[in-house]
């Protein structure tokens, strides 16, 4: 059982490490997606827009790692996925522009923007 746990964790870490070393995140692309997709939807709902500067780097990292959107009703990664982008691209130009961007790359881009724009980040950022 112990061996099974170690192997499973190793598998996930290997995948993450492989992705991380291969891709140099583009915070500017993350900024566009966050503002054009995340914010445009949040601004219209009762939650309102969420400035990156409202959370610390650690809080954003934990939030993204937990991958729980709307208190766990669905996932954050779901809103970054190609499937979601395909669904909304007729009405959202950012989703259309990045329709073919690999999920992992776009997720890394958004994370780079949020970490950079966090309360304690290099450039605390707003939604607009």
């Amino acid at each position: 059982m112990k061996l099974a746990k170690i192997l499973a964790a190793g598998a996930i870490l290997t995948v993450i490490a492989g992705t991380a070393s291969a891709y140099d995140a583009d915070w500017k692309r993350g900024r566009i997606y966050y503002r054009s997709v995340c914010t445009s939807c949040h601004a219209a709902s009762p939650v309102g827009s969420i400035n990156p500067s409202t959370k610390t780097k650690a809080e954003w990292t934990a939030y993204l790692q937990a991958d729980k959107h709307a208190k766990g009703k669905d996932t954050v990664s779901g809103y970054v996925s190609k499937a979601y982008r395909a669904k909304i691209k007729s009405g959202n130009k950012a989703a259309e522009k990045f329709a073919d961007t690999p999920d992992a790359e776009l997720a890394a881009d958004i994370k780079a923007f949020l970490i950079k724009g966090a309360k304690d980040g290099d450039s605390p950022a707003t939604c607009s």
Partner: protein, 535 residues
């Protein structure tokens, strides 16, 4: 059960390993082209010159110049470096080093603060060495990380390690990772240009009105060219550089471009930053009548209906004469409006802000004459122009342009009758002391100009042709915006604009023709009915 779980885990492990090494294995089976960066021809992280710790900006520049041997020399020739420009039309020596405005007024004796926006390192007084190559700041324009910072008050220095600044203050400025930043250099961007040009006048959107941080990732409605998910123009797409010299000038603007679309290699091409350089002189394909308008009206007039419409206000008025007040404790204070925006500061005075501002309009032929420190001015009922824009309906060179007209009240010398250059920044500057005469004395000394010791305030005005925040065509002005009694062009003289204007003779003649035509048709019809004839 345990075996089954272990097997599943092993399977997952193998899958993970495969996912991580997959590309490598696939490459053996079927060679694939390697991932290529499309935005640059060189991956700077691979250069040994940049794989070391840098303590300061000039150290980075030295490394850059090992390969880019001519870059510093090119920069040294530009306005971005010299902050000086000799206008051949007026023979006035302009540039930030010489002009004044009615925002923060002047860089004289304030170099250490203002040169945070200079493309160099160390310009903190008049002893700056403009010939030194390592004084050029490559990173301020070529940073792609967004993490590059020049230290305010240092003369534009960048610190690669934690540094006490100002020296002896006990305050530590955190160093930035200059190696990492230099390894990721790339083309200029809206962010790099905007670092300074969005913040002209001392803050986001303050000066220009059509340039602020909302233009970093604008939507189509805000700027049809820079739309981050559309055409995605950078500043350099229009402001095409040549040997590091950026096209487009506020000191000698192109008000009327009749050279048509710019073709590569075409001799005598003009300014590549004009609308015409891409769109030509007859851009309206469906409504040819609009092309007639384009002979007298700048594209910007119709296509930029309002400015400061990205949610960030711009300053429209600044009254320095009300500065200097302190609270009950003798401390400086600020006042904010209902939107929490600053409208008064002890050190600066009162401001009026504007959003979605309808421009003022004027004939403009590209001729700009500045009121310089050596020019005599008279305080009177009319505002003193900081810049005088030439133009009229009759000169054949003018177009009707939209303007941000900025009105200020600023200190001047009532004895010598000149504008003045107060020293505002730093511990002994006005913003700290609130004492005008000392601040002006120091600033004028730095400018090499006399100061009588007397201080008064004069109303001034400065015009800024508006050219960014181009709206989509369906948001451009309509006919009635100008052709009505409430015309936007109410102040434009020398031209007859139907509906806005009335000429009794023309109107009587026109309506008479309409009436006579109507009578003719009715009379003809009546005769046919009476006579029963078909023809």
């Amino acid at each position: 059960m345990r075996t089954a779980i272990t097997r599943a885990a092993l399977l997952l492990f193998c899958a993970g390993l495969l996912a991580a090494t997959g590309p490598a294995l696939a490459e053996e089976a079927k060679p694939e082209p390697k991932a290529v960066k499309l935005t640059t021809t060189a991956d700077h992280s691979k250069f040994k010159q940049l794989q070391k710790a840098f303590a300061s900006g000039p150290e980075v520049t030295k490394a850059c110049l090992e390969c880019h041997t001519e870059a510093a020399g090119q920069i040294h020739r530009t306005k971005h470096w010299k902050w000086e420009y000799l206008n051949p039309a007026t023979n006035q020596k302009l540039g930030k080093k010489n002009v004044l405005n009615n925002y923060c007024i002047s860089i004289a004796a304030n170099q250490a603060a203002c040169t945070n926006c200079h493309v160099g390192y160390g310009w903190k007084d008049n002893n700056f060495d403009f010939t030194k190559e390592e004084n050029v700041d490559c990173l301020v324009c070529h940073d792609t990380t967004g993490n590059y910072r020049k230290v305010p008050g240092s003369g534009g220095q960048a610190f690669g390690k934690d540094t006490e600044f100002p020296p002896g203050s006990g305050k530590i400025v955190k160093g930035i990772d200059l190696a990492k930043i230099s390894q990721k250099v790339g083309k200029t961007s809206r962010d790099t240009c905007g670092g300074c040009h969005f913040n002209g006048g001392g803050g986001d959107g303050v000066k220009h009105g059509d340039l602020d941080s909302s233009m970093a990732t604008p939507e189509k409605e805000l700027d049809v060219h820079m739309d981050a998910v559309g055409l995605d123009f950078t500043c350099a797409t229009c402001h095409k550089t040549s040997s590091h010299d950026v096209a487009g000038s506020r000191y000698a603007p192109t008000a009327k471009d009749d050279k048509g679309v710019q073709t590569r290699g075409k001799p005598g091409s003009g300014n590549p930053a004009t609308c015409v350089a891409c769109h030509g002189n007859g851009p309206h394909k469906k409504e040819a009548r609009l092309n007639n308008h384009a002979t007298k009206i700048a594209c910007q007039t119709c296509h930029i209906p309002t400015f400061a419409r990205g949610g960030i206000p711009t300053k429209m008025e600044w009254d320095w004469s009300t500065s200097g007040k302190v609270d009950a404790n003798g401390k400086q204070f600020v006042k904010r409006d209902e939107k929490k925006r600053i409208i008064y500061e002890s050190r600066k005075g009162d401001f009026k802000l504007g959003e979605n501002v309808v421009p003022e309009y004027a004939w403009f032929n590209g001729h700009v004459e500045y009121t310089l420190l050596t020019d005599k001015i008279e305080k009177g009922p009319q505002r003193t122009p900081i810049n005088k824009l030439g133009g009229s309906a009759a000169d054949g060179k003018s177009m009707i342009w939209p303007m941000k007209v900025f009105r200020g009240t600023q200190p001047y010398d009532p004895v010598n009758k000149t504008l003045v250059t107060p020293h505002t920044t730093g511990p002994d500057g006005y913003w700290n002391t609130l004492v005008w005469d000392k601040a002006i004395e120091e600033g004028m000394k730095d400018s090499g100009q006399p100061f009588s010791g007397k201080v008064d305030f004069v109303n001034t005005v400065m015009s800024w042709p508006i050219t960014h925040m181009v709206a989509p065509k369906n948001k451009a002005l309509g006919c009635a915006d100008c052709h009505s009694k409430q015309s936007r062009l109410a102040g434009i003289t020398g031209i007859y604009i139907p509906v806005r204007d009335n000429n009794t003779l023309v109107d009587t003649l026109g309506w008479s023709i309409v009436l006579l035509t109507l009578l003719g048709v009715l009379g003809h019809g009546a005769l046919r009915i009476v006579t029963g004839r078909k023809h």
